[in-house]
């Protein structure tokens, strides 16, 4: 599991962008399949993308909470570049925090077209 870990690793770092990638793939493939089957109707896909977006943002929030803990809750300022285990943890935690922000924005941006487009044209 990449959640509920005591230590930050490359895997916890990669979690938020992976969620973003899967959300993007889901939205893209679902819309493409719906448009291939019945042109001009996107209703169910828009709902599904809404649910997937809420789910993805929830996962990213969990990753954020964990990364905040790994970072040391802001006890020290970046760049966390001392060659110690503690700084390695804080560096990974802080980098994950930044990736959480980026991934959350990206998930919202890739879901926004579903708010405005109601059919496949």
């Amino acid at each position: 599991m990449v959640y509920g870990r005591d230590d930050a690793t490359l895997w916890t770092l990669l979690t938020p962008p992976t969620v973003w990638a899967l959300h993007f793939l889901f939205a893209y493939v679902a819309a493409a399949m719906a448009c291939g089957e019945t042109p001009f109707a996107l209703g169910p896909v828009r709902v599904a993308i809404g649910v997937a977006t809420a789910f993805a943002l929830g996962l990213i929030a969990l990753a954020w909470r964990q990364a905040y803990r790994h970072w040391g809750r802001g006890a020290d300022r970046p760049p966390h570049d001392a060659p110690t285990d503690e700084d390695r943890q804080r560096f990974l935690g802080f980098a994950t925090l930044l990736l959480c922000g980026l991934s959350a924005v990206a998930v919202v941006f890739s879901a926004l077209p579903a708010v405005f487009l109601s059919d496949c044209r």
Binding site: G101, P113, V115, F116, L117, R121
Partner: protein, 336 residues
């Protein structure tokens, strides 16, 4: 340094350096602005979709100018006026807000502003349907007026002003893209799929559409005139286009096999591989807006199509005896 010299130059009746620079700048600005108008400019809109797109462009340009001024202003301030460094905490905060939060907010606003236009550009409530098929390297155009017969034409699009026209866009061979910058955005034409584009012209005039996706050697020679007409004039024009042509004078045309590829409705020429020629002489241009539509160009097109439009399926007929070439050109000229 320059202040002394222009006085002498002006006294001698010659413009000074500053005046020359000013004139050059004014000339460059005039040239730049002149490039914004014309029959093929998205910044000189003649349709509501193009107006929305041009508005989007100006908003983006103004926003970009403001951001550019702020960033350069901050850089100049930091280099020339702020001599003592700010604290590390303040620096981090500046990076967080100036580098992440504010750009994200600006991009969010721009994204919503742009996405909000998309449903408008695809509004399906159409008063006229026009099917356009992109082919290497010309446009097959079929008008489907409500309650009337379909009218086949090619390489020219005419629409009534003020009416919402729905274009159904297909491709016969490779991907093309249908773009009338003065009327709206571009939409790709993809083999095996019909894309739709709704346009509403807001003023009459003659504009230019182009293929906006590279489609082969003569891609740049695949354009079409777009004529926005008063509704009455459009109805009359469409009725005229629906009329069949007279077969008089078509013996040489048929004898050389032209009818195998081209249709002239009302005659034995029924080919559908190339453009319909029934009212060729009434069109504004020849060869997908390549040449003016006059007698000399019609003769030249038939003789040299292989060099005028490299990659086109029609062979050049330069080997025809002059009398036969002239007879074909005369016949084409009679197809009003």
């Amino acid at each position: 340094m320059l202040t002394g010299r222009p006085v002498h130059a002006a006294a001698a009746g010659r413009p000074g350096r500053v005046a020359v620079a000013r004139r050059a700048a004014a000339g460059a600005l005039a040239l730049t602005l002149a490039a914004c108008s014309g029959p093929q400019s998205a910044l000189d809109p003649a349709g509501d979709a193009a107006e929305a797109i041009a508005g989007l462009f100006w908003v983006l340009l103004a926003g970009a100018a403001v951001i550019w001024a702020l960033v350069i202003g901050a850089a100049v301030f930091a280099l020339r006026f702020k001599t003592r460094p700010i604290s590390e905490r303040a620096g981090l905060r500046l990076v967080l807000w100036g580098g992440a939060v504010v750009p994200t907010l600006i991009l969010s606003v721009l994204l919503v502003y742009g996405l909000r236009l998309m449903p408008l550009l695809r509004d399906p409530a159409a008063e006229l349907r026009v099917e356009v098929v992109g082919e290497q390297f010309w446009w097959r155009v079929t008008y489907r007026p409500e309650g009337g017969p379909a009218v086949v034409s090619a390489n020219e699009v005419r629409v009534p002003v003020g009416a919402r026209v729905e274009f159904s866009l297909d491709a016969a061979d490779v991907i093309h893209s249908f773009w009338i910058p003065a009327l709206g955005g571009k939409v790709d034409m993809i083999p095996g799929r019909s894309n739709r584009l709704a346009l509403r012209a807001t003023r009459t005039g003659t504009f230019r559409g182009v293929c906006a996706e590279f489609c082969g050697p003569a891609h740049t020679r695949m354009a079409f005139p777009v004529v926005v007409m008063e509704p009455e004039a459009f109805r009359a024009w469409l009725a005229e286009q629906a009329r069949e042509a007279s077969p008089a004078g078509n013996e040489t045309f048929l004898a050389n096999g032209c009818g195998g590829c081209h249709a002239v409705r009302g005659t034995p020429a029924t080919g559908t591989i190339g453009p319909d020629l029934t009212h060729l002489a009434s069109r504004l241009s020849l060869g997908a807006d390549l040449l003016p539509n006059d007698a000399a160009s019609r003769a030249r097109f038939v003789a040299e199509v292989d060099t005028l439009k490299p990659g086109a399926r029609m062979p050049g007929f330069g080997m025809l005896p002059p009398a036969e070439a002239a007879a074909i050109a005369d016949y084409l000229g009679s197809l009003e």
